[in-house]
């Protein structure tokens, strides 16, 4: 995938299995969101993406970093819109409101965390096979974080494929089977669950380095 002559993603070769959770980590601008948009079919790219459910987009629940909401649309109507789009009938939205959101209020009046929970509820009710969650834990309160982690575990048990990006390492180590490190548009490392601690240590070393000393606080 590229903008003009500038390639955003290069030589990405990755496989996501059913019933597994994958983490994508990388600095801001590493290409995480671009990778997600390519998988979703929202960006043009050179290459092939294969999936058992085709086209992927019709079976994919995409949670953007900053979900978009129309003015004067309630939480309930937002869910209805996304479920209608996938032809998935919903019988009892109130019962499915696991995050206790004020569904009859305009979604634009929600806090950042509530907006994220609303967008997540909608893609869960779409009964997707694949999930891409871009920063799902950002801005979400601690109780909902716990619930979200449990939801991810349940989706995994149901054989769904989940890809998550997060800047909070612990949220990934709690949920993922594999973490992929994306750097300047390429996946430079794939780490399995047993080596997560090692990866965290390595990332810490790489990121922090001697920057704290440079601050001159000590």
């Amino acid at each position: 995938m590229s903008y003009g002559n500038h390639s955003i993603l290069k030589n990405i070769n990755i496989e996501f299995d059913e019933g597994k959770v994958y983490g994508i980590v990388g600095k801001n601008g590493a290409g995480k969101t671009s990778l997600f948009r390519c998988i979703a079919g929202l960006e043009k790219y050179d290459g092939i993406i294969n999936s058992s459910h085709y086209p992927i987009k019709n079976h994919l629940g995409l949670l953007p970093t900053e979900p978009f909401f129309f003015e004067k649309i309630t939480g309930k109507e937002y869910i209805q819109l996304l479920c209608n789009a996938r032809k998935k009938p919903i019988n009892d939205i109130e019962r499915n409101n696991v995050f206790d959101l004020p569904l009859n209020q305009y979604a634009t009046t929600y806090s950042t965390g509530m907006k994220k929970k609303l967008a997540l509820t909608a893609i869960l009710l779409q009964r997707n096979e694949y999930f891409i969650l871009d920063e799902p834990f950002n801005g979400v309160d601690i109780e909902s974080n716990i619930l979200l982690t449990e939801i991810i575990h349940t989706l995994k048990k149901l054989g769904k494929t989940i890809v998550i990006s997060s800047h909070i390492f612990s949220t990934l180590s709690d949920t993922c089977d594999e973490i992929n490190l994306l750097n300047e548009g390429s996946i430079i490392k794939s780490v399995q669950r047993e080596d997560f601690q090692l990866l965290e240590k390595e990332m810490k070393q790489m990121t922090v380095g001697n920057r704290i000393e440079k601050l001159g606080l000590l």
């Binding site: 043009k44 019709n58 953007p64 003015e71 004067k72 649309i73 109507e77 789009a85 209020q105 634009t108």
Partner: protein, 312 residues
């Protein structure tokens, strides 16, 4: 004080530049756009005043409906944070007064002084009251089952829809069929406007439909919901003006034609906003309804092609 004046000057210069930039991005020279707007405004106002004697009451109402959008809560909060309370009020008064210019100019031309005074008074009151912030509750929408165009559109324009219903009652009581048709076209005009702004691509991408079925689905919803909105008007006009049922039916078809044309025009430029060539085709369809029969299928085909990128 001087700093305040400078702030206001900079704010309005920025707004002016932003509007001009939008025109240029759409491929139109700003001065030409202003000229077209002035001509269009004059023609529509003239049409309104020729159609009904109630135009003198409708005109201020249309003005209020227009400036109501400037009082959006988020917008007002942002301006208050940027400029402080006093400066914000001055900006809001100035904005509302700028928007009175076309209305007041036309009323001056018609030598109607009382509506001018009313519009000026209302513009000052609304700038100071910021009523939308105080009444920030969820407005009921009968169109929640198939969001979003009619759901949000109804909430944004319900005063205009109420006005249309009031007008049709007046039309029946004073035996003025033209006024009844005008009220019908207010409803269709509103329904048409619900489809003009371009939604985020996420809400198109989400659909499990191919481009053709996506467009048909949008058209079906629009026909169903616009029919629901026009039913009271159609029933009343059919009852009171039985001799004009044929004409009423033609206007119904034109109204639905406008709405369909609005939908296919929007998606023929998607994900960009309606571009100038397509906008011109749309304007042609609005002014010369028979053109709808030829241009709507062309725009439908263009929209289908355009959506193939997102709805594979």
């Amino acid at each position: 004080m001087v700093q305040g004046k400078q702030q206001m000057k900079e704010y309005f210069a920025l707004q002016f530049n932003m509007i001009n930039r939008r025109f240029r991005d759409g491929g139109v020279v700003p001065i030409f756009a202003y000229f077209i707007f002035a001509i269009g405004f004059y023609l529509l106002s003239n049409f309104l005043f020729k159609t009904t004697e109630f135009a003198v009451y409708l005109y201020p109402f249309l003005y209020i409906n227009l400036i109501g959008r400037l009082s959006e809560t988020q917008r007002c909060e942002f301006l208050t944070i940027c400029f402080g309370d006093n400066q914000f009020k001055k900006i809001r008064i100035a904005e509302n007064l700028i928007f009175t210019i076309p209305f007041v100019s036309f009323l001056l031309y018609k030598q109607l002084i009382i509506p001018i005074l009313f519009i000026l008074l209302v513009s000052l009151i609304l700038a100071l009251l910021n009523f939308r912030t105080k009444f920030n509750y969820t407005i009921y929408s009968p169109f929640s089952k198939r969001p979003f165009e009619f759901t949000t559109g109804f909430r944004n324009t319900f005063p205009l829809l109420i006005l249309a219903y009031v007008l049709v009652i007046i039309a029946a009581s004073v035996n003025n069929f033209n006024l009844g048709i005008f009220s019908l076209m207010i409803v269709f005009g509103s329904s048409f406007s619900f489809y003009l702004s371009t939604e985020n691509e996420y809400f198109v991408w989400s659909y499990n439909l191919n481009p053709r079925n996506f467009l048909i689905n949008k058209i079906k919803t629009a026909l169903l919901y616009s029919a629901a909105l026009t039913i009271p008007i159609v029933v009343l006009l059919s009852f009171y003006f039985q001799q004009n049922i044929g004409l009423l039916f033609i206007f119904l078809l034109i109204g639905w034609g406008w709405v369909i044309c609005g939908i296919v025009t929007k998606y023929s430029s998607y994900p960009n906003e309606i571009n100038i060539p397509n906008g011109m085709l749309l304007a042609l369809c609005l002014t010369l309804p028979p053109m709808l029969v030829i241009l709507t299928p062309i725009l439908f085909y263009k929209a289908e092609k355009r959506l193939e990128n997102i709805l594979k």
